[in-house]
């Protein structure tokens, strides 16, 4: 059980994001309870990725309040947000974003590099996660020698290495074939159940939404709940 979890993992209140000519997120409010598996659905260009960026602290809203693990992130500096992510947040990106020069094992331990920790401990933690995602035998391989599904598994292991309270996934199966995609979803779903990690997943696939506890729908920057 994750000791950092509080009741509302994410609390979003009247959040809007304005760019010069468009407002991809408009007056959005919702809460995500700790341990929930939430999907954010919507067509392309509906503002899903922008909203994910906002609730994950990757960018700041133009208006409104976002609380992450009880902390108001709109008042945080870039470095404070980085430290908040280091402590509470994991990311799985559609494009994996692995470091091409590092092995699978090193990619998994990458978030721990700036942390004062024994190399052995870091590697043990990363190796345990690689075993969990079924890639222990590929630990020394560079990303270029891994398949798309394997790269996404490495990315998931990397997202878990800091034992996050919340895992944000942006179209995690978007670049994978359907069989591999199903495997990845099963893995994420199991993690949500076993580790009680709050899962916030952006997708445009309604089948994936069926696996979640709750779905949010986004259309023209506004969110409705199922």
């Amino acid at each position: 059980m994750n000791e950092n979890r509080i009741n509302d993992a994410i609390a979003v209140q009247n959040v809007s994001k304005h760019f010069a000519t468009v407002s991809p997120v408009r007056d959005v409010s919702f809460q995500v309870t700790a341990g929930e598996f939430i999907t954010l659905l919507g067509p392309s260009g509906s503002g899903k990725s922008t909203l994910l960026g906002l609730v994950a602290g990757l960018e700041k809203p133009s208006e409104g309040s976002i609380r992450l693990q009880g902390r108001e992130i709109t008042e945080c500096s870039e470095d404070e947000l980085a430290l908040l992510r280091r402590d509470f947040v994991g990311f799985v990106f559609q494009a994996f974003h692995l470091i091409p020069t590092l092995s699978a094992l090193e990619n998994v331990s990458f978030p721990l590099y700036p942390v004062q920790m024994e190399t052995k401990e870091r590697q043990e933690r990363a190796m345990a996660l690689l075993e969990k995602v079924g890639l222990a035998d590929r630990a020394e391989h560079l990303p270029s020698r891994l398949s798309g599904g394997e790269r996404q598994r490495v990315a998931i292991a990397r997202a878990l290495v800091n034992e996050p309270a919340i895992l944000y996934c942006d179209e995690p199966t978007g670049n994978l074939d359907s069989a591999t995609g199903r495997e990845i979803l099963t893995l994420l779903s199991t993690l949500n159940q076993d580790r009680e990690v709050t899962l916030f997943m952006v997708t445009h696939d309604r089948d994936i939404a069926k696996l979640s506890h709750r779905s949010l729908f986004m259309h023209d920057g506004e969110v409705t709940e199922s």
């Binding site: 000791e3 870039e78 280091r86 020069t101 590099y113 700036p114 942390v115 004062q116 800091n162």
Partner: protein, 428 residues
């Protein structure tokens, strides 16, 4: 959850550092190669400039001086007996003493050079003070047979080896100078020492002064006192040499001919003046190119990794963590490039050290009558370029890329890490 941040120190991850250096070979090779090229060119140009400066000093430093003083005078009316060439008119004892007290002058050596047309022969004779620290007295290091003159020698002479061989003279033989008999006590290879003020015969200064003072051919156009001389060899503080030369000219007037290392630069004419200017232009261009290439390349290397920097930020690296890591990587590129550049530059400098340049010695400084065979021939002092790496050379060559590269990396990474993480991740 991971460790708390309070008290955490910035760390360079060695594994990541090494993987970036070795995993992106093309980028590493370009970065290191570029720095190496800049350093090598800077090393070569700086060493070449130093070698040329040294070369210009050589003709004078050969005779232990950095300033020579002569006076232009009238051409002798008749070439009979001892006469003074027009380029070495008398310098009075009073004038020599006035020069000797100019601040910055460390030592002054006097000599008398004259042509001797006595007894249907011609010989160039120089009177020297055997104990002097500069000037023809340095011939003591070029004695090939017999011995050097001493102050107590009376009517003794040194003979120049090539001339003596042609004249069939040997140590112990007698020669006539100004109608007086002198015994040859030694043979000297003057070409080993200097091309300035060289002669066929060398005698004690006091005897040369006496011969010249009593010579009718000299008295016709000059007033030569028994303590006068017509060649001064001055050791002065190097950085004051040009200022001292200007003061001497002021003291002696328009007819004074004062030579310094700069005079030889000017003598080398337009070719070397152009080369020097060109070398200055090359240095400026290399510096400009170094600024442009190193800063552009370093900034491009950071931009190329913008999305990777986004990943670092997304997984919890702070701006300082990222900058520290990138700074370390670039420090290694620059350090390796600098080492390679120093090696390349040293090899190129070594190759250039085989090059010799011929510095012309003006006729005035080694006068031979024009009507004699070879009298109009230009004398040269051939000098090997001494490509010596000094601390200044190494420091300037190393600091330029280091400062440029690291400043650019710092600035580029600072601006990227200040962007919002989502912007960096979206960067294409």
């Amino acid at each position: 959850m991971i460790k708390k941040h309070m008290g955490e120190e910035l760390m360079i991850n060695r594994k990541y550092l090494v993987s970036e250096l070795t995993g992106r070979r093309r980028r590493s090779a370009v970065n290191i190669g570029l720095v190496a090229l800049v350093v090598a060119v800077l090393v070569c140009i700086t060493m070449l400039a130093g070698a040329l400066e040294h070369a210009f000093q050589t003709p004078l430093s050969d005779i232990g001086a950095n300033i020579t003083v002569q006076m232009a005078g009238d051409v002798p009316e008749q070439m009979a007996g001892p006469v003074l060439p027009c380029s070495v008119a008398p310098i009075s004892d009073e004038q020599s003493r006035s020069i000797g007290v100019i601040p910055g002058i460390q030592n002054i050596s006097r000599a008398v050079l004259f042509w001797d047309f006595s007894d249907d022969t011609f010989q160039i004779v120089v009177g020297l003070q055997p104990t002097d620290r500069a000037g023809p007295a340095l011939l003591r290091a070029a004695v090939t047979q017999g011995r050097m003159l001493t102050e107590s020698d009376s009517f003794m002479a040194l003979a120049e080896t090539v001339w003596a061989e042609k004249a069939g003279l040997h140590p112990g033989d007698q020669v006539k100078i100004g109608g007086r008999a002198f015994t040859i006590v030694g043979m000297v290879d003057a070409s080993k020492i200097s091309r300035i003020g060289t002669a066929h015969l060398y005698i004690n200064l006091s005897e040369a002064r006496a011969i010249v003072a009593a010579a009718p051919g000299v008295a016709e156009i000059h007033s030569f006192g028994i303590k006068d001389s017509n060649l001064l060899f001055i050791q002065a503080e190097r950085d004051k040499a040009e200022a001292i030369a200007a003061k001497i000219k002021q003291l002696l007037g328009d007819k004074a001919s004062v030579s310094t290392p700069n005079s030889f630069k000017e003598l080398l004419g337009s070719l070397f003046t152009l080369t020097q200017r060109f070398s200055g232009m090359i240095s400026a261009m290399v510096f400009f190119l170094a600024v442009l290439l190193i800063s552009r390349n370093s900034a491009a290397a950071i931009r190329e990794r913008t999305r990777e920097i986004g990943t670092m930020k997304a997984v919890g690296w702070t701006g300082a963590d990222i900058r520290y890591q990138l700074f370390a990587e670039n420090f290694f590129y620059i350090a390796l490039g600098t080492i390679a550049g120093l090696l390349l530059g040293t090899i190129a400098a070594w190759a250039l050290s085989f090059v010799t340049i011929a510095i012309p010695i003006p006729w005035d400084m080694a006068p031979t009558p024009h009507f004699l065979p070879g009298g109009e021939q230009q004398l040269f002092r051939e000098v090997h370029l001494q490509m010596t790496p000094g601390l200044k050379v190494l420091l300037s060559a190393c600091l330029v890329p280091l400062v440029l590269g690291l400043a650019t990396v710092w600035s580029a990474s600072h601006s990227i890490t200040r962007l919002q993480t989502s912007e960096v991740l979206r960067y294409e």
